[in-house]
Amino acid sequence: MPVNRKYIILLLMLILASCIDPFEPLIEERQELTVIDGVITDQPGIHQVRVSRSTPYNDPSFMPVQGCVVTVEDEQGNLEHYTENWNTPGVYEVWLDEPFLGVGKSYALYVVGPNGTLYQSDYDTLLACPPVDSIYYEVNSIYDPGADKSYEGLQFYNNVIGENGGCGNFRWKLTESWEYHSPYTSDYIWMYGYLYSLLEDTVSTCYLTEPISTVYAASTDLLSENRLLKNRLNYVSNQTPRLGIRYSLLVEQQSLSGQAYRYWNELKAQSDQSASLYETQPASVLGNIYNYNSNEKVLGCFYATQIQEKRVFVEVEELDFTVGFYTCVLDTIQDFNSFVPENYYYLFSLAPLPPGPPWLKGPKRCFDCTQWGGENKKPDFW
């Protein structure tokens, strides 16, 4: 029921010392079900279908099913066959292009498992998707009851202006990229007994791109107009270095049929679960794929969508709050006697010109930003 969960629980935590602790339930049951997921987009290119088995709760892994025959059919009966990717088992790929792809067409998926079981999906229609109207943010502070502190951050939103009578169900896949710097820039490197001057710094500026693993979906079903205003997307806290220099958010907007929307909205609800006084009974999220040979339930979903994309940037100068950055601790050394000859060390000199002792020495990650997961190559869109 529409009772705001978060605030009730926060109130209780403060007043009644309510608390949330990690909990590992004892679940011994093993339930292995076939999982099939795939998507047909309007974009020409490689399309994928993944076939796997579900794994026990206590021991999760992606358990691919190899040797399937995977076929997609449009409503005219045109068939396209997928082939299994040699490098990533369980992933089946096909190159699709117009005229097989097209807005308004419907597609169904057939998968024959290695033991001959036939899995079949309902037809799903590729609906036109309106362009991403606007993406914007608001500065928002979030309270952390554990630390009894509020943190600043950016809450991103978007608007969708759909046509009347057009598709009103949407899903967004978000990818974030940001620029960050290593904590220090080194001037010298000591390698195999020799000191080299670093003339060109290539490892202090990096870029990291990561997909956001949260499901975002919304519908205009309950609204009187086919428009979404201030639809909530991700939140970026100042407790990570994401906003430190420049941040970019790529929004991929997908149009969904009613069936596909229900599926993604239920998955969204499942991952959004939080502490609540008003708990609802959870239920399996089932999509539009069926086992043709038995009643065994099949997990996953096959759907078709048109894709619209938009990218926005946020510069640190726009922000009036401070942002966290990577830190590391350096040691002071007077000479290189303690160095192991086989290793190399990044250094910088505290002495005024000419450079000399005392030196500051640190681990690689103090000077090399690629150690923090990013790449030092500027992306094309930057």
């Binding site: 605030y7 009730i8 009644l16 309950l222 006084l277």
Partner: protein, 927 residues
């Protein structure tokens, strides 16, 4: 006054026995006799006083005497001891003659009794020498005689109807559940909510025992000439001052036909430690066997494995549709106004119907008939005050009570800016008037209002309120027939605003009105039958309201949720028959009729098709108040009580009930936006059949009652919800509901000690509750049509309530609760879609959250015991959840940056210590 009347009667109509009591022939003696055989007593008295007894040994066999004191009247003692055994006593010239019949051995000496005024004075409790002797002898349990009726000519009927009223000597309050027990015929009666009892008996002489929790037991001789009224006052017992937990007493436990029944009075609330310093009746009943909740702080309670909407809560006949304040942490009526409450779990009397699981019947206090007084208190969350007093002394009284939260100060101190914006407040008011125009009539009026408002940050607002009133007229139509007529109105409404997303912000107003007229009649016949009959009619107006856009930016599409009207009527007839002195049978039949009325579009679905919009074959559009569908229900109610011995009995009962409204809720705990809904064209009324069997054993010496009950119940057409049901998107509730069957069974054992320094109870119950929603129609099943544990299936449950009275000012209480964790559906496997982790679930409710355990302590410190003071106060220091155990309220699984983790929410993560202060006008012992 009755006793004055006796005195006069005694003068007009001869009572030689009584006159002789003041005769010079009476003999005084001293001594101590503890439960000695009569013969032994005789020997001692003969030796001391020189009188000679004349009787046959066989007459006095088994008679024992207890008496002690100086200058005791022998005549009185003999009378009280021997009369019940049917023996008469004459004292003359040093001889004591026992006979088996009343002799007129000399003419009444009217002139000799010129000191009439002396006798009259006695009635007025002036102290004569005889009285003095009586008082002396009273230590020994000398019995006062109550005389009922007159021996006027033509009154020679062979049955007499007694109408009694038992009140508290001090306050004039009627005593509920007080019992009257006639030793000779081993039968009795208990007083009702107005402190009244009626009993049919043959004229004659009886020894009668009055008992009431917290009151001094009273033993009297009663001489019944004909039917009449009697008014008994009882004094608080010294033990009662220690606020012992006293329960449904001996009469109820063993001798009554009632089972699955618990009656407690408000004093218990002082004993049971409470959270946040708020006394709370609904939390107290959760300590009784068979009553549970889905979690602490959750609104509502579950009786014998049933959903919370199957309970009816009445305060003075006003239905309470939402019994909680502040999400369920508190009860929506102040405990100050509660006098007594009864919970019926099975074996419903035929006069009650319309709820499957239980009736929680709360009787509000009547104002003090004798003096003005006030009660009040402050806890960390609320402040409360009640006033009461006579309007016309002894005839009419009022009580007014109010309570309000002042908890916003806590929120204002919070760091989080969103939370600082939050507001919560609630209050409740209640008032009652009672008026006794004469012996035969009692009129009571009651009004109640509760209100809750909270806004959470800037995202949600909730407001809801209960209101209601009742007018109750009770009148004795004839000697045998008493009628109770009530007019009741109750309403519940809520308003909610959701502004989480400005463009989708919405608001809804919901309201249910309940208009009821109820007539209950009782007809008494001699001993064997007690006939009750009557009926009621309820008109429901229910407006589920509309979902409307809220604010300038909202684009929410309005949705009409529709109106619901219905009429529920019922008539009943029941008889309680004493088949033999040991076997009592209660049989009743209730016929209920429900009519679902227009307006409101009604969808007719194809036969055997699921309730989905695609299967609509016809749409009905009834006029307002046009009958759309009628459901009827013939409900047998029967019970049997077999007395095995004086202190134990075996009981059996069966009953059937149908319910015509239910709550739309897809959450485990009742939320402030859950809506009541009437059954309609497409949703059939749920029904229960329940069988119970119980064994009851009392140990009167230790004040111990024990019982063990077994029950089995089968429910049909229980409403459950489709996965992801959304009640604010459609007027057609049948599209989001399913109906199934439920089976519940269990055992409840109770050990209760109500006297002594340590009092309290231990309750254990084993109970199971299984649901099944299976249908021929695909997609209409839950859990593939297989049975699954209901949300209220918590097999083992143990609660211990104990109170230790250290002295009159200081007492300690401790509670312990253990119960099996409630069922839960856990994720059993993980799967990946687009490289994101998701979970798939087990069969419904296949697992359980961790077991629940809690220990509470409380210390009550009373103010000083001075008799003359303006007001008395006491402190309550409560330690809730002493062990600080983090009991799981719920377990949930969250996707943290791509991986699934389990968490457990505990509402009370540590010991909650609260101090509250309470006061009343008067001294320690004042009510």
């Amino acid at each position: 006054m009755v006793r004055e009347l006796f005195a006069i009667l005694f003068i007009i109509f001869l009572s030689s026995l009584y006159l002789e009591a003041q005769d010079s022939d009476d003999v005084l003696f001293s001594g101590e006799f503890q439960d000695v055989p009569f013969e032994q007593f005789v020997d001692a008295v003969e030796q001391e006083t020189g009188v000679t007894f004349y009787f046959l040994d066989s007459w006095v066999q088994g008679i024992r005497v207890t008496v002690s004191g100086n200058e005791i009247s022998l005549c009185h003692i003999l009378k009280s001891t021997l009369l019940p055994a049917g023996l008469y006593v004459y004292l003359e010239g040093g001889g004591v003659y026992l006979t088996q019949q009343q002799l007129i051995h000399r003419l009444p000496d009217y002139t000799g009794r010129a000191d009439e005024s002396d006798l009259l004075n006695e009635g007025n409790s002036g102290v004569s020498t005889a009285e003095q002797r009586y008082i002396d002898g009273r230590k020994a349990g000398m019995l006062e005689t109550i005389t009922v009726g007159s021996r006027s000519p033509g009154e020679g009927k062979n049955v007499a109807v007694l109408h009694g009223k038992i009140t508290d000597l001090e306050t004039g309050d009627p005593l509920i559940g007080a019992t009257v027990y006639f030793e000779e015929i081993k039968k009795g009666a208990a007083t009702d909510v107005d402190g009244r009892f009626s009993f049919v008996i043959r004229p004659g002489k009886y020894t009668v025992e009055f008992k009431c929790m917290g009151m001094e037991d009273k033993l009297n001789n009663m001489e019944v000439f004909s039917g009449g009224d009697l008014s008994i006052t009882m004094e608080k017992s010294v033990i009662a001052l220690s606020e012992v937990v006293v329960h449904a007493n001996r009469y109820h436990n063993v001798k009554g036909t009632q089972m699955g029944f618990d009656r407690l009075n408000y004093k218990v609330m002082k004993e049971v430690p409470v959270v946040m310093g708020e006394k709370d009746v609904l939390k107290v009943i959760q300590m009784l066997p068979g009553v549970q909740s889905v979690g602490e702080g959750a609104a509502g309670f579950n009786v014998r494995g049933s959903a919370a909407d199957q309970n009816m809560i009445y305060i003075n006949k006003v239905p309470v549709y939402n019994s909680s304040h502040l999400f369920g942490f508190f009860t929506s009526f102040s405990s100050d106004i509660v006098k007594d409450f009864t919970l019926y779990k099975s074996n419903l009397p035929a006069s009650l119907g319309g709820r499957l699981a239980s009736f929680f019947d709360i009787t509000c206090k009547q104002g003090n008939m004798n003096r003005y007084t006030a009660h009040g208190g402050i806890s960390p969350v609320t402040g409360r005050l009640s006033l009461e007093g006579p309007i016309k002394k002894g005839k009419s009284s009022f009580i007014l009570a109010g309570r309000s939260s002042y908890s916003d100060w806590i929120l204002k101190r919070l760091e989080d800016p969103q939370l600082r914006e939050s507001k919560t407040n609630f209050y409740d008011l209640s008032g009652a008037l009672s008026w006794e125009p004469g012996e035969k009539t009692l009129i009571k009026a009651f009004g109640y209002y509760s209100n809750d408002k909270f806004s959470l940050g800037t995202t949600n607002d909730y407001a809801y309120s209960n209101a209601g009133g009742s007018l109750n007229i009770r009148h004795r139509l004839s000697d045998r027939v008493t009628g109770d007529l009530a007019f009741v109105y109750g309403t519940y409404e809520f308003e909610t605003v959701d502004k989480t997303v400005a463009s989708e912000a919405w608001t809804q107003k919901y309201r249910i009105d309940h208009y009821e007229a109820k007539l209950d009649m009782t007809w008494l016949s001699l001993g064997k039958h007690k006939l009750t009959f009557g009926g009621n009619g309820i008109l429901y107006n229910l407006n589920r309201g509309s979902i409307l856009p809220y604010g300038d930016f909202s684009m929410r599409a309005p949705v009409e949720l529709g109106l619901d009207n219905g009429v529920e009527t019922a008539v009943y007839l029941a008889d309680e028959i004493s088949l033999t002195p040991r076997l009592t049978f209660y049989g009743g039949i209730r016929y209920a009729l429900f009519m679902s009325l227009g307006p409101g579009e009604v969808m007719v679905y194809g036969e055997g098709l699921s309730h989905q919009s695609g299967n609509v074959v016809d749409v009905l559009d009834p006029e307002p108040f046009e009958v759309v569908k009628t459901y009827s229900s013939l409900e047998p109610r029967a019970s049997l009580n077999l007395m095995l011995g004086a202190n134990n009995s075996l009981k059996f009962s069966y009953n059937r009930v149908k319910q015509f409204l239910f709550m739309l809720s897809n959450t485990l705990a009742i939320s402030p936006t859950d809506q009541w809904k009437l059954v309609d064209y497409n949703i059939t009324p749920p029904m229960v059949d329940q069988l119970s069997l119980g064994f009851y054993q009392d140990f009167p010496r230790g004040g111990v009652n024990t019982s063990i009950e077994f029950y089995y119940k089968k429910l049909e057409n229980v409403v459950d919800y489709r996965d992801g049901a959304n009640f604010i998107s459609t007027a057609h509730v049948e599209t989001v509901t399913l109906q199934g069957t439920q089976e519940a069974y269990g055992m409840e054992a109770l050990f209760r000690k109500s006297a002594g320094k340590i009092s309290g109870w231990v309750a254990y119950s084993y109970s199971r509750s299984m649901m099944q929603v299976a249908s021929q129609i695909p997609g209409e099943n839950i859990n593939m049509g297989n049975p699954y544990p209901s949300n209220f299936d918590r097999p083992h449950n143990l609660s211990v309530v104990s109170n230790l009275k250290l002295n009159r000012r200081l007492s300690l209480s401790a509670n312990m609760v253990y119960s099996t964790g409630r069922p839960v559906t856990y994720p059993v496997s993980i799967f990946y879609v687009e490289n994101l982790q998701f979970v798939d679930y087990s069969d419904r409710n296949a697992y359980r959250i961790p077991d629940y355990f809690r220990l509470d302590l409380s210390i009550n410190l009373e103010g000083n015991l001075r008799e003359r003071k303006l007001f008395h106060s006491y402190w309550m220091l409560n330690f809730y959840n002493v062990t600080g155990r983090r009991n799981a309220y719920s377990v949930y699984f969250q996707n943290d940056e791509g991986t699934i983790n389990g968490y457990k929410l505990s509402i009370f993560g540590q010991t909650i210590i609260t101090l509250s202060w309470n006061f009343k006008l008067g001294n320690y012992a004042s009510e």
